[in-house]
Amino acid sequence: MNTNSHAQPLAIAGGVAALAVLPFLAGNAYLEHLLVLWMLYALLALSLNIVIGYLGELTFGHAAFVGVGAYTSAILSTQLGLPPLLGLPLAGLVAAAFGLVIGYAALRVVGPQFAILTLGFGAILFTITNHWVDLTRGPMGITDIPPMAIGPLAFDSARPTYYLVLALVLATAWLCHALVGSRTGRAFLAVRENAPLAASLGINVFHTKLMGFVAATAIAGIGGAIYAHYIRVITPDIMGVHNVAALIIVVIIGGRGTILGPILGALVYIGLLESLRVAGPLRMVIFAALLTGTVVFLPGGLVSLWQRWRNAHRSENNLPATPTGLPSTEGGAK
């Protein structure tokens, strides 16, 4: 424990420093663009992880909230001329409002029924976006979305956008870390682990789940808005099934219920997506195989490899091992 308490902050500081210099090592605009996508997916996966990892509920509706955020900010900036910087928090608020209404209805049930309800609500939002042409321009999408800017600093290229999203990823990672170390987050984990027992201890299961769901959708909305102002074009596809699948794959492959997992999973996803470009549509088959393989052979995701190694290492040195365990503050899901 003693070596650990010193090693962990050092490792985190090293990791953040590496992330900060990464764009300078990338060397070209294409790689910088991939770095932005990595961070965007990391941000969205961290938000989805609140629902899948901490609350233990599977949602198929997450991409819809990303889309709500993206469209909110895109419409406000293109039609009302609102500065994108103001659109960002508004996108989070609108996505959270949708999350509140949909969560209020869908969280009455749990498990597979909840997952199916979120799939339904996601499909409804997709269909509305696709057909309400007056507002969303339908399948044509919204083009010429202005880039985000803070005063003279414009996020119109990959490198500054990377730093913006990196900052948000780090902030969200801190939010998640604070969550699992707080009374609120421990209630999340209690509800995930054993809802009847949690209730008997005074935890309102429904309110707890709703709170986590709304927080996750708010972050998803902000992520969607950044995406819209970075790519400058959005279509209803952002809410599509492939995006739903992508986010779930990222969280599961990386390691649900952890903070590093979704960030790592996003790196693997973006990396493979680009390096397998030659494989064409076969890519999705490969991802499906990866997802299945992870669920079967590595249920804790990629981060659990590190845990396994450390436990093996500890037993060599006759130190107490934490069986199968992710550190408790990470609240590892099974």
Partner: protein, 262 residues
């Protein structure tokens, strides 16, 4: 009978629960005094767990009323009963399996902690104080349940006996006024049963009132001040263990049948 007694913590009157055509609990009236250890016994299917579920709020009664600490709690949901100070354990081992023992107990302290997510994000002084206090208290409760050496072990990696003790640690972490124990000695050997008896005595010394469902007569007789006997959902006897366990009717419905059940 319903006159408010100063020491009365739980008053159940005419409580009935019907499942379809089956009356699981019929017209049960009983009280528990603060500081008492009361045993609820009866043959399998007598309605003990149904009564427990109603007291814990996980099952609404069909009729009758429940008063806890002077407040009417009839039909209050589980988390409200929990907030008011009724903690329970379950017949089948029920804990937070993939959390460590320490986190099991910390999660259970929801009722007695205040600072939430926001304070944790800002690392406020109140948050840091409460977390330090919570850790100290959780370790104290683990030590109380003889589990302090297992604080960093995952709950589902523990032995059965340890898990049963961890369940009690979880219930105690909520600092309940009334603790409902559903068959705490189930599956325990005599030595573990004796350890449980000691533990229940020490729980009472913490000013927690205990109501327990139990089949182990040795445990019941040595720890309870008073017994309530149910048969087919009806209360058939009540009184000190020495008297109740010698009641011919109780022997007939329950003890007499035990060799047949076993």
């Amino acid at each position: 009978m319903n006159a408010a007694n100063a020491g009365e913590i739980l008053a159940v009157s005419n409580l009935t629960r019907i499942f379809g055509g089956l009356t699981a609990v019929r017209d049960v009236t009983m009280t528990v005094q603060a500081g008492e250890v009361v045993g609820l016994i009866g043959p399998n299917g007598a309605g003990k767990t149904t009564l427990f579920n109603m007291l814990g709020g996980s099952l609404p009664p069909s009729s009758g009323s429940i008063r806890f600490a002077g407040t009417d709690c009839t039909g209050a949901p589980s988390h409200v009963m929990g907030q008011r100070g009724v903690s329970r354990t379950f017949q089948i081992t029920s804990l937070f399996p993939s959390l460590t023992a320490l986190d099991n107990v910390r999660s259970a302290a929801y009722r007695t902690t205040r600072t939430g997510w926001g304070a944790a994000i800002l690392r406020s002084a109140a948050y840091r104080r409460e977390e330090a206090e919570l850790r100290r208290k959780a370790l104290e409760i683990l030590a109380f349940c003889d589990l302090d050496h297992r604080a960093d072990t995952l709950a589902d990696a523990m032995s059965y006996g340890e898990q049963r003790r961890l369940e009690i640690a979880i219930a105690l972490a909520a600092e309940p006024r009334l603790l409902l124990l559903d068959e705490p000695a189930a599956g325990m050997n005599p030595e573990e049963g004796q350890r449980l008896v000691e533990m229940i005595r020490r729980i009472r010394a913490r000013d927690v009132t205990v109501l327990l469902v139990e089949h182990h007569m040795r445990v019941v007789a040595s720890v309870c001040d008073r017994l309530v006997v149910l048969d087919h959902g009806v209360k058939i006897a009540e009184g000190p263990p020495s008297q109740v366990l010698n009641d011919p009717e109780v022997i007939r419905v329950y003890l007499g049948r035990e060799p047949v059940d076993a």
